[in-house]
Amino acid sequence: MKEILHFLSEAKYSSFIIKIVIMTLNLIVFIVLALFIGVCSVLAVTTGRILRAATYLLFVLFGTAGIYFQLNYSFLGAVQLLIYAGGITVLYVFSILLTSSQGDKAEPLKSKKMIAGLASTLAGLGICLFVMLKHKYLPSKFVEGELDVRTIGHTLMGMDKYQYVLPFEVISILLLACIVGGIMIARKR
């Protein structure tokens, strides 16, 4: 009896340890993702060559998909990878290759303009961070578990309250208008 109790308490202890380890691993993954996103986004707006900027943008989008996966939103992460990383980046690379010649570099920025942009951006960042970190949010809790695709499908196609068939149809019309508009604008005349 005593042994069993001892074993149980040890099992409890080990599950606690496992919880701590998982939390630490989550934190490590998050820190790696955050550093990756931060560095790549800064490089994307400061690098001189535009093709490199598009590549860094691709890395930022991968990092964002990683954050969605970490939040257990696998569907959103897959959509991010498919549409952003797969579609939009290819569009960017093609249009960059079409519109800029080889070895094209951005002319260096005037330091006055750069300082003005940097100062206004830093001021905005400071204000936003201050407000965000001071604000008292609702009690936040992280519920583990994957959002299953059946729920997503029913919510996307349902017509009740908090279901989204109308935005779905509207966005399909938007995409149609976008295709027609793209062809109209870009066609040769």
Partner: protein, 102 residues
């Protein structure tokens, strides 16, 4: 689990990096890349708020989903316009854009 504020700090940083790029870049495609950064950071915010504050609901999730779709449409039209500008003035620098007037 990681605290919610850490995710928000990352997305805020990304948003202001995008704004900085929008202020300082002089190439239309580079400005569009900065706009993508801004849109992407907002999508992160929607997903994070939905996951941490309203775990039983799906509003933020679907808003992020539709925002991704809308930004794809926006990018396609903007790139069509930029290619058309390039065809007219052989250049996509912002300072040359007023040549499109005459």
């Amino acid at each position: 689990m990681v605290q919610m504020e850490l995710y928000l700090v990352v997305s805020t940083f990304m948003m202001f990096v995008g704004i900085y790029g929008f202020f300082t870049r002089r190439n239309l495609l580079a400005m569009l890349i900065s706009v993508e950064l801004i849109l992407n950071s907002v999508d992160i915010n929607f997903a994070v708020f939905n996951r941490f504050l309203f775990p039983g609901q799906l509003e933020g999730f679907f808003f992020a989903l539709f925002a991704i779709g809308v930004s794809a449409a926006e990018t396609a039209v903007a790139i069509a316009i930029i290619i058309n500008i390039y065809r007219n003035i052989r250049n996509i620098q912002v300072k040359n854009l007023n040549e499109m007037k005459h």
